[in-house]
Amino acid sequence: MSREMLINLSMLAVLILTGVIAHLAGQGFVVTLATKAAIFALAGMGLNLCLGYGGLISFGHAAFFGIGGYVCGILALHAANAMPLVAGWSGSNQMLLIWPLAMLGAGLIAVPIGALSLRTSGVYFIMVTLAFAQMVYYFAISWPQYGGDDGMSFYTRNQFPGINTLKPFGFFLICAGVLVVVTAVIALITRSRFGLVLGAARQNRIRVEAAGIRPFPVLLTAFVLSAMITGLAGALYADLNRFVSPTMLSWHMSGEIMVFVILGGVGRLCGPVAGAGLYVLMEHLLGGITDYWQILLGLVLLTVVMLAPGGLIGILSGRARHG
């Protein structure tokens, strides 16, 4: 096993152990922080698939995060009030049903966004994805049925078979479990033939075409998969807070997800775990000292970008980026 793989697995292990030890020590609040880190890591893993491996700098992933959240919130709201949603079906409070629907919702929106954005590249790609995300954001604000500007609360967490999701540790285990499964899936995909072509499309699309492969369907698939993973994270985040609002869709959120990826290491399997972990840690520790903690976050980000473009994983594995 390569050193980088060892570091990747250690990142997951540190996150999980943090939750477990905090639980054993009776620190429910720390368990919730670890849960938040796991969810942010998951959102970052989604973005990393297209940004890191495919070189598609999406500044619109908050749209998918928020759509996942709204799908979760809307289904839960209808289920709680026995309000019919479609065809007499009144939502659901079962995570195992909510997750695939959240992923489906994010994925369906990602198809047209990706198909149109991929006609551009570089800075235009960034701006087009941002513009689409802002459209979704303003739509949510002006949609009074589900809270509009204020967002909406739902009073109990959705359910998962065999686990009491209202206990912080139960919900932590669910989120950590999802993160581990998604990490394994991404590890598999990025080492597959698809991953080989995706990385090639990041480096040189002309070469991919000369090899007889159209880059567009490959990049679009990566973009949609990426959106689905971030959408799943959004559904979990809604359940964590039992609240969704347009904040989840705002461009600040897109920026934060990007920060998780860059801090941890662009194109590194568990970079987003390291990045999200560090982000939540700084938010908690420094946020307690000053409201302006993001100035310090900015300094850390600047240092990483200038001195260690491989992010935390790059520093720890001591290895330049490879394919």
Binding site: R191, F194, L196, V197, N204, A210, V218
Partner: protein, 257 residues
Amino acid sequence: MADPGTDPAAGPVLEIRNLVKRFGALAATDDVSLTLLPGEIHALIGPNGAGKSTLIRQITGEVRPDSGAVFFAGTGITGLGPAARSRLGLARSFQVSQLLPDYTVLQNVLLAVAGASGGAFHFLRNPLKDPRLLPQTLTHIEHSGLSGREAIQVAFLSHGERRRLEIAMALALRPRAFLLDEPMAGMGAEGAKDLTRLLSDLRHQAPVLLVEHDMDAVFALADRISVLVYGRIIATGTVAEIRANPEVRHSYLGGDA
């Protein structure tokens, strides 16, 4: 390997008919017709700005012609994009090498082999361990003289090795024709000699349309030469015919060639 590209009775492998491409008032390609016959090296020469690149890009599918048609291996390909043309076996090398700098030699050739056998949408198996890809990949690496360099990242290859890698990737397409855009560019004298030998061997795999500035290489390699000036082909013929052609001497070879 039996190759359709080496049977002279089969008619042209690549045929361009009356291709026209205008950019505003400028006719970059002005009614160009050209054939590439099985087993030959056909060189396309011409001064800077003659429209060689535009012509090449219409053959590869990056640029659509205003009128005219391109036929490859007996079928019209005028409406196809670059990837589809590559899959049909139109292999190319580039003026500026187009490789995957973060990948190793092995990964680069693997990509080309993957393109020729089933495309991108396989999500499970690691291509580095795929028995459908690996043996062919290693064969192409060996044929292009890069054995022992499989694990080297492209960013660390010499210029000559990159040229060889491009050719290995072209071979991986099981090509029916090669389109080589200035393969000698930037090569030293010694490297150019090696590469000339490699290119000369290529014609046994498939015919070569060679765009090249290095006249020594062109005269040493080409079976036929076409001269492009201001978007028009002013002459096509053997090396001796082109050397003797007064119009070519006047407009391109400068009289002393």
